[in-house]
Amino acid sequence: MTGLLIIALVTLVPAAVAMALRNVIHSALLLILSWAGIAAFYFWAGAEFLAFSQVLVYVGAISMVVLFAVLLTRHTRTDGGVAPDTLGRALAGLLIGGAVLGVLFGAVLSTPLPIGSKPAAAVTVHGLGVELMERHTIALLVVGVLLTVALLGAVVLAASDSRSGPEDAR
């Protein structure tokens, strides 16, 4: 229980601060912390493999791409000053978000959730592999195709018209 609370703290606080900061780099770095918290949650929940995948994909890859994108788009006009409609947007966002939060919390707290007799046994990597290759082969293939297409699409999108160097190809 305490473990979960710590994880919740590590996950939520950086995420909330990240969404409020003006410095995008700081936001990205804080979000990495938040993602690491989620990985800790997976670990806590007994999904070891998932935890490492989460770190590898989010901390190792997505955050890098995000930081790279931030650096590539360094000089943007957002640095100049606060746009006039920022406050309004923030307020609206907060309002909607708060409302959704209220609804969700209410729903969760008011629903009696059936709890299994005992927590699920932690899956082994081997077990996962067997599952993947036997029951979810189609899904695996689809994901593979999706990833390939996404990679190609990203390359095509990000490669500029004239100087499409390999460094642009991510």
Partner: protein, 407 residues
């Protein structure tokens, strides 16, 4: 909440005392504590042992590197502090500790401070799953390989933090380079050992080492490096590992001739020493990984040498790989950024993919014997060499030795 897995598996009685003493020592010391604390004390002892041993290895490695680079360059290397310069690391340490810690005024102070700490923390984390000897695995994980690379992936993040927080244009360029390098080399690094996992059928380090037990013809160890695809995978892994640990010829983020010291430009004193330490730790960890994946882990190379304790074999292999890294550093010029990424995307990644096929072929034909065995080797070698030559030709297009005319 499930308890952390056992820090060290219990020692089996079959091993010699020499082999078992580290674990016996830990268990004895932990035995003095009440039972609920024993696992904690045991883990602390392991952690302390790792930090102390690899701290010592790091210190020795700084000296070894300078000595060996000196020899490569026909110099004796440091030899002033202590006999043969053996106290040089201590002198360096004192120097680093007493130096002023300078932080640029416009730097991002928090990140500037956090970067070396994070880097060191993550590189020490990677040690947790490496089997240093028979039963000497600090953390036995089911998905140990994945853990290793998850922890390792965060190191470049720290380099980015260092470069970005310094508010120095050279450091910023270094940060960009570090990111690009990470993005490029993570893939070949991961792809290179996928065949191993495929054939070993496990992500656990111990499992992989167990798969490499035994001897062919009674004396050739069944290490993965002694198969065509394993050798190719090892080469790819080595190149990618050099790039991941920012070693020459891939030390672009800190390319001293271009970016002064890259992300390290604005670091001094102890923080600089931390970076240095983390970099060497990373190198040691990747070498340990290579040993585990390709070189049979802590296993002896010949049957009659098995009486030597396994951790010594691990150490010997580690030393060999580290010397190879230093040797390479002493020989090669540095690549350019675009060439670095091109090497990764146009050469290493396709090669690793081909290698996956080769490994699959190897796995499918495991039943062949006699003359078929020869054919199996031949096909596998061809499957490694032909893509290498073809891709290499494509990579080095437009680059060739030239002849010159005379007036």
């Amino acid at each position: 909440m499930n308890a952390m897995p056992g820090i060290f598996a219990a020692a089996t009685g079959a091993d010699s005392l020499l082999e078992r003493w580290p674990i016996l020592f830990r268990d004895t010391v932990a035995g003095f504590f009440p039972a609920p604390l024993q696992w904690l004390v045991g883990s602390l002892i392991s952690i302390l042992a790792i930090v102390a041993i690899f701290g010592g290895v790091f210190a020795a490695l700084t000296l070894l590197e300078r000595k060996m680079l000196g020899r490569v360059q026909n110099r004796p290397g440091p030899n002033r502090t202590g006999p043969f310069g053996l106290l040089q690391p201590i002198a360096d340490g004192i120097k680093m500790l007493t130096k002023e810690d300078i932080v640029p005024r416009s730097a991002d102070h928090l990140l500037h401070f956090l970067a070396p700490v994070a880097l060191l923390a993550f590189s020490i984390l990677t040690f947790a799953v490496i089997p240093f000897g028979r039963n000497l695995v600090p953390l036995e994980l089911d998905a140990a390989v994945l853990y290793f690379f998850a922890a390792g992936a965060a190191t470049e993040l720290a380099i980015f933090m260092a470069g970005w927080a310094s508010r120095n244009k050279f450091s910023l360029l270094a940060a960009m380079r570090a990111l690009a390098q990470l993005i490029s080399y993570e893939l070949p690094l991961l792809l290179s050992f996928v065949p191993i996992i495929m054939l070993a059928g496990t992500l656990s380090m111990t499992g992989i080492i167990d798969q490499q037990a035994g001897w062919n013809f009674g004396f050739i160890p069944k290490w993965y490096i002694f198969t065509p695809w394993g050798f190719a995978a090892f080469a790819i892994f080595l190149v990618a590992a050099l790039a991941e640990s920012n070693r020459s010829p891939f030390d672009l983020p800190e390319a001293e001739s271009e970016l002064i010291a890259g992300h390290l430009t604005e670091y001094s004193g102890f923080k600089y020493a931390l970076f240095f330490m983390a970099e060497y730790f990373g190198m040691i960890a990747l070498s340990g990984m290579a040993i585990t994946l390709f070189l049979g882990g802590w296993r002896a190379p010949l049957p009659f040498l098995e009486f030597i304790p396994s951790y010594l074999w691990f150490g010997a292999k580690l030393l060999g790989l580290l010397l190879l890294f230093i040797w390479i550093r002493g020989t090669f010029p540095r690549l350019r950024m675009d060439q670095l990424t091109r090497l990764a995307w146009k050469f290493l990644v396709p090669l690793a993919l081909f290698n996956l096929g080769t490994a699959a072929f190897w796995s499918l034909t495991s039943g062949w014997s006699g003359p078929l065995q020869l054919a199996r080797w031949g096909v596998a070698i061809a499957l490694v060499v032909v893509p290498f030559v073809l891709l290499g030709r494509g990579l080095s297009r437009g680059v060739a030795p030239r002849t010159y005319r005379f007036a």
